[in-house]
């Protein structure tokens, strides 16, 4: 259902060309106010709000990054490993590549397999410009393409509630106990 909704929003955003601003059924301070289109490892086109309704960890990466990208994926896996099974089942993970030219659905699917990410709860996706930059701006994530084709970028892992409001974020790949506590609290029981 969420997937279907995401796909519809994505299609609308694409057609209307008015993808910044104004989702009526979403809180004003929700990241899901942004209508952005993602291409996933399943080859689907979905909305940035594909996981609306579930607490979600969101971050950005690019697949050809030699060290950071595997570290990021492992870091999120370690953070969620501290949750009990029921809480973990409620959590979703959305990792968005800002290098859509290289991170095709095929490559994203490889990444997902390589890291044994649960495809029911984890989505590897890519966003094109200008959507990638808009998502990054919401997350406070910075990236810049260098002349050699690599990227200079920051690191941040963001936790949002089921409505897409930012609960907290961390720049630490491991051992941020405040982030772990918020993650536990946000996934502790079903939203609503």
């Amino acid at each position: 259902m969420n997937w279907l909704r995401g796909a519809m929003v994505g299609a609308l955003a694409y057609v209307s060309m008015l993808s910044v601003g104004g989702a009526a059924d979403v809180p004003m301070d929700s990241l899901y106010q942004l209508h952005a289109t993602l291409a996933t490892q399943k080859g689907a086109s979905v909305g940035f709000d594909m996981y609306q309704g579930q607490p979600t960890v969101i971050s950005m990466f690019y697949g050809s990054c030699p060290s950071y990208c595997p570290m990021l994926i492992t870091a999120v896996q370690v953070y969620e490993s501290h949750l009990d099974e029921a809480s973990r089942a409620r959590l979703r993970v959305l990792l968005v590549s800002f290098d859509a030219a290289h991170d095709t659905p095929t490559r994203l699917a490889e990444l997902s397999r390589l890291h044994r990410a649960d495809p029911e709860r984890w989505t590897f996706a890519s966003a094109k410009e200008p959507d990638a930059r808009r998502i990054a701006s919401l997350l406070g994530f910075h990236y810049r393409k260098l002349a050699d084709g690599s990227f200079d970028h920051t690191q941040v892992i963001t936790l949002v509630d089921s409505e897409g409001r930012v609960v907290t974020s961390t720049t630490k790949l491991i051992g941020d106990s405040a982030f772990e506590a918020k993650l536990r609290a946000t996934t502790a029981s079903d939203p609503q």
């Binding site: 057609v15 209307s16 060309m17 008015l18 993808s19 910044v20 601003g21 104004g22 989702a23 004003m28 301070d29 929700s30 990241l31 106010q33 942004l34 410009e129 200008p130 930059r133 808009r134 990054a136 701006s137 919401l138 406070g140 910075h142 990236y143 810049r144 260098l146 002349a147 050699d148 690599s150 200079d152 970028h153 920051t154």
Partner: protein, 254 residues
């Protein structure tokens, strides 16, 4: 969707000074040039030819936009996209009033609002390299950055307090490309505003280590722009921060 397009058309016809013809997109030829930003191993960056609006977007032009895009009116824009000061100097959501004259550049607009405005014109914000290329021109030369007198002229603006009221657009001289007010009126959002500094640089300590990697150190005016943009967040609005839109050049043209 069709209805929305028709609405935009109607509003544009009625808006007078806000018509697209009043702020046309002018060509800036592509070039390889030395940017103030570190670009990895190469000295120069390649910028493709593009089109840039002749002057910063005005209050009249932005009013026409919020009329047809009510979700961007003050009080309606999502807080995630624009802070509490968004269009704060306007008298009302659809009334710029005496504090915001029609031909003054619109300010107190967030990056998201600027993105949405340009998107509605089938355009986009320029990226930094594009803006920097256009800003390197004096009235006579494409790249005047090595001229001390030209650099001083720009610095004089930075040293000059703006006061409460901004001038109207196009009061000064056009630059080499026919563009007005690139320097001297407002700061302008660019699409990649938040990623100009190296990832490990702290914008608040820009004058220390953060500036070490930057090129063209004598070009203070441009460095100040980078520092300012680097200190903003995408939902921030500033009383001297505006924008203008860009488009890709048509195929086969410079």
């Amino acid at each position: 969707m069709l209805a929305r397009v028709a609405l935009i058309g109607a509003a544009t016809l009625c808006a007078g000074a806000a018509t697209p013809e009043g702020n046309p997109f002018l060509p800036v030829a592509g070039a390889e040039f030395g940017s103030a930003l570190p670009s990895g191993k190469q000295d120069k960056v390649a910028v493709r030819g593009f089109l840039l609006q002749r002057h910063p977007v005005t209050n009249a032009e932005f009013l026409a936009f919020v009329r047809t895009h009510p979700q961007w009116q003050r009080g309606s824009a999502p807080s995630i996209f624009a802070d509490g000061d968004y269009l704060g100097h306007w008298s009302g959501p659809l009334d710029p009033g005496p504090g915001a004259a029609p031909m003054q550049p619109v300010t107190r607009v967030s990056w998201f609002a600027a993105e949405a405005y340009c998107e509605a014109q089938q355009a986009r914000l320029p990226n930094w390299y594009e803006w920097e290329l256009a800003a390197a021109a004096s009235t006579k030369k494409r790249d005047a950055r090595s001229e001390a007198t030209w650099r001083q002229q720009i610095l004089d603006w930075y040293a000059h307090p703006t006061g409460d009221s901004l001038a109207a657009v196009e009061q000064g001289a056009a630059n080499f490309y026919g563009l007005y007010d690139i320097h001297g009126l407002v700061w302008e959002w660019v699409h990649d505003f938040d990623s100009l500094l190296p990832a490990d640089a702290d914008p608040e300590r820009f004058c220390g280590s953060g500036a070490q990697n930057l090129q063209q150190k004598e070009n203070y005016a441009v460095l100040m722009r980078i520092a300012l943009l680097g200190s903003l967040r995408a939902a921030d609005t500033g009383h001297a921060v505006g924008f203008r839109c860009a488009r890709d050049a048509e195929e086969g043209k410079p």
